[in-house]
Amino acid sequence: MIDRRLLTNFDWILLLMVVLISGIGIVNLYSATYSWTFPGPPIYVKQLAWLGMGLVLALLVSCFDYRHLEYKGFWLYGLNILLLIFVLVGGKTSMGATRWISLGFFNLQPSEVMKIVIIITLARYFSLRAHADGFFLRELLVPALLIGLPAVLIMKQPDLGTALMVIFIAAGMLLLAGLRRNTFIVLALGGLGAAVGGWRLLRPYQKQRILTFLDPEKDPLGSGYHIIQSKIAVGSGGFWGEGYMSGPQSQLSFLPERHTDFAFSVFAEEWGFAGSTVLLLLYLFLIIWGLYIARRAADSFGMFLALGVAAMMFWHIVVNLSMVIGLMPVVGVPLPLFSYGGTSMVTTMIGTGLLLNVSMRRFVF
């Protein structure tokens, strides 16, 4: 299954980047949750376990030839849509949202899987249909349905963050496929209109988040608390940071969700602008390396696949960072490889596996 050639072309740089960022993340989680006294293994140990499992998963995903996915893409898509419908009918509800299917030993989150499946599906579709002139508007009907159906189902759960992620990832892939100038303008205007119209479809808590983002001081102890505390943590870090394990905002628990969505705030407080810059450059390098893999892909399916994964990582990173430094409303998107959580780790690692897969088969035709 794995011949020598594949091994010589193995993308060690990508793997190294992923492990490096995850390592920094775990070191950061150790500090973020140091004051916790909950029973059971500490968070950083659990994250380490997730990382181990994730790496195994990534290697497994990189083993088989990704081209097998090309023909299974639509089947996967159909199955995932069924799962999303099943979630709405008989899913597990927690904290006001129905997102999970209980499988006994773990909870499956079909919306999370959808991020990968939409990449495979669109990679298949675009690699078949893309043409040098760029898409006309009417040619976008099928992709729009392919994207819109899961997006609406996920929005219904409700999970605005994931739904937007699916749309953003698809948008990135669409840009690679190419649009005619007029189509691009119409889509841009349409997107703007949808944003305005979509406001009316948002749930009260979602509207609240956006309003809070626009004026967090209005409700400093309520929904504005997250943004305010995160900005204080990041800002008070200064240029060189408060020092590892010494950020008062993090260590004295003023920073909420500091092991998940706001893990970067802890890092920024303790390592300052200097540390944050290093981390951001690592992430940027990861994204550009993903683009590089896409560029070198042996076929257009692989190219779209790799670009989709790079787009997924890019949007997660950008949305999460924008959120914690107060550039965007709180939407509950984790920072890949950095925030604690198995779901995020698994999704990111499957994506990494796909990248490795495409990368090592760049000479295999």
Binding site: A130, V234, G235, F239, P248, F254, R295, F301, F314
Partner: protein
């Protein structure tokens, strides 16, 4: 090569990927700019916010200022009290905790639960007091075992302490938890105690201490992590009263179980040496927060222990008013020392019969005998000649019918009727029969014990109406004088010294001559001048002064017993007024109490104590 599709071949992929990379880099530059803005340009501001987040200023309660008597004896103090509180944020098992505390505190479980629930409207890091002012041994018992349950916290704070118990409770006043209004003004913190009545209230700004501040670091839940600095509290100022504690004690004890009041005043200065309200109450109950059942018990007590009778109780003066009528009559020429009336036990006017208390009459009665034996008929006759306006004019001149300006505890003004008053009040003319009632201190007349003492002092010192006062001075802890009350004259009434002398002699006869109604206040070594009085509570079928069978009358219908006195008669130093509610005859129950007080005063003067000027400084005072 099936892979290179038409699209891939005819699209400038290099350019497209270059644009993608550029866009990604551009977004990251944006993120980094934002970080630069937060972490360098605005970092100081966020530093301050971060510090503000974890810094809390906690008050340290200060003790109130101590109160001393005229000789520097400590009457009211502050002592540390131990509360058992709980930090709600640290409590894991409230039910278990309450069970446990109920056991160790030997306190009702229900009560603890109510207090626990009441604390739920405050932040979780605010200690909830479950047991206030527990014994040290209880505290130790609880704290030794408290490791079993999280969240128990001992809190030490100063609390009012009363070494003399209920003595002078009404004038010293009570404390209570600060009200909504003061809280809103922002000068007080919630849960703080402030003066609610008496001197505690009037002198609040002097007695209240200044809270200290602790700057501490807290975590997001408000849990204290460490202390950065402390500014210690400053106790309130020292307040010196004119009261003489031992004399106050003698006076209060002289009442026994009787309800009533006594006011003892220095006739030269207006200082109050003793102010008795009987029965009294324990002000310590209020200092630690009175419980509803205790409060209810005090309110429902038929003896009304909360009432400040001395300053607010209004009583008809009865025959203690007669010296005033006598002075007025002498001044207006309506009587002279030679005026003699034949008392046959009653006096008739306009078809109505007014009785003398003595059914058989006093026979031929001159001025001295009239006061000595309190002959009503003599005063009817003289009062009628004088007229109501002559009587009320003198009464007002001597301080009746108006507030004395003591400004402590809310004072009643009493009532001195006149023609114009009645016209205004009832729209009716004044009747002669009403003049007769006024002549013997009955009818519309109302006085407070304080007014009677002021009046008696004015008679004793020859017409100077002094402003009574209790608080002599306030000092801070460095000995600086912050407040001082100098003797002040409310009114200087022009009286003929000879006429004053006449009244003094008659009042001396009341106590010292055979047949005098006030003999029970007689002292062996000091000449006392006085006057008894009996104030009717209800008019019984027969006007009678029969003292023998008053026991058979229900308590609440019995007459009030009054006595006023000053001494020494020839060179007056103190004046006093005593009222025993439902005590029957003034000579019988009020005069002996007055005697006890006078005896106490002169015994102490012998030892050179009572007159001694108060020491300038110091908490310690000699005990008698």
């Amino acid at each position: 090569m099936r892979i290179r599709s038409d699209w891939a071949r005819n699209t400038d992929l290099s350019k497209r990927f270059f644009l993608f990379s550029l866009a990604a880099a551009f977004v990251f530059v944006l993120l980094l700019s934002r970080l630069w803005y937060l972490q360098t340009i605005n970092s100081e501001r966020y530093d301050r916010l971060s510090e503000k987040n974890r810094t809390r200023y906690l008050p340290v309660a200060s003790p109130r200022g101590p109160v001393f008597d005229r000789h520097g004896r400590l009457l009211v103090d502050s002592r540390p009290a131990f509360n058992i509180s709980v930090m709600r944020q640290d409590v894991e098992e409230p039910e278990e905790l309450l069970d446990w505390l109920s056991l160790y505190l030997e306190e009702d479980r229900q009560l603890l639960e109510e207090r626990w629930k009441a604390g739920r409207r405050f932040p979780v890091y605010r200690p909830v007091t479950l047991a206030a002012d527990v014994e040290r041994s209880t505290l130790e018992r609880v704290m030794e075992n408290s490791f079993e349950l999280a969240g128990i916290l001992p809190v030490v704070h100063p609390i009012r302490h009363y070494p003399y118990g209920d003595m002078g409770a009404h004038v010293i006043g009570t404390l209570g938890e600060v009200g909504e209004e003061e809280l809103r003004s922002g000068d007080y913190r919630s849960g703080e105690y402030q003066g609610k009545s008496g001197i505690e209230k009037v002198f609040e700004e002097y007695l209240r201490g200044q809270d200290g501040v602790r700057r501490v670091e807290v975590d997001a839940r408000g849990k204290e992590l460490r202390q950065w600095e402390v500014e210690p509290p400053k106790p309130g100022n020292k307040l010196f009263l004119s009261l003489d504690a031992p004399l106050q004690k003698v006076a209060q004890e002289a009442f026994g179980r009787e309800a009533g009041s006594a006011v003892v005043m220095d006739v030269r200065t207006g200082e109050l040496l003793a102010v008795v309200n009987s029965p009294s109450f324990d002000p310590a109950l209020f200092a630690r927060g009175i419980r509803s059942e205790e409060w209810k018990a005090l309110l429902e007590d038929p003896m009304k222990p909360l009432q400040n009778r001395a300053f607010r109780g209004q009583y008809p003066p009865g025959s203690t008013f007669k010296p005033v009528v006598m002075l007025a009559a002498l001044a207006e020429g309506a009587a002279s020392s030679a005026t003699t009336v034949d008392c046959q036990g009653s006096f008739e006017i306009g078809g109505r019969v007014f009785r003398c208390w003595k059914k058989g009459g006093h026979g031929l009665t001159n001025l001295k005998k009239a006061l000595r034996e309190s002959c009503d008929v003599w005063f009817y006759e003289v009062g009628l000649r004088l007229g109501i306006d002559g009587i009320s004019e003198m009464a007002k001149q001597l301080g009746l019918g108006q507030e004395t300006g003591i400004a402590i505890g809310g004072e009643s003004s009493g009532l001195v009727p006149s023609r114009s008053w009645k016209k205004e009040r009832f729209g009716a003319p004044w009747y002669k029969g009403e003049t007769l009632n006024a002549s013997i201190g009955q009818g519309f007349l109302l006085t407070t014990p304080l007014q009677l003492a002021v009046m008696t002092a004015a008679i004793a010192n020859g017409g100077t109406v002094l402003k009574p006062y209790l608080v002599s001075r306030v000092e801070d802890w460095e000995g600086n004088l912050l407040f001082e009350q100098q003797p002040s004259v409310l009114r200087k009434t022009k009286l003929n010294p000879a006429q004053v002398e006449t009244v003094h002699r008659a009042m001396t006869a009341v106590v010292n001559e055979p047949g005098g109604s006030g003999w029970r206040s007689r002292l062996s070594d000091v000449l006392v001048a006085g006057k008894t009085g009996t104030a009717q509570v209800v008019r019984l079928k027969e006007d009678d002064g029969d003292e023998a069978d008053y026991e058979s009358i229900p308590y609440r219908f019995r007459d009030h017993a009054l006595f006023i006195a000053f001494a020494p008669a020839d060179k007056p130093e103190i004046a006093l007024a005593v009222i025993v509610e439902h005590g029957g005859g003034g000579g019988r129950t009020a005069a002996p109490i007055a005697g006890e007080i006078l005896k106490g005063y002169f015994a102490r003067r012998e030892q050179g104590e009572a007159k001694k000027t108060p020491p300038a400084q110091g908490r310690e005072g000699g005990n008698p």
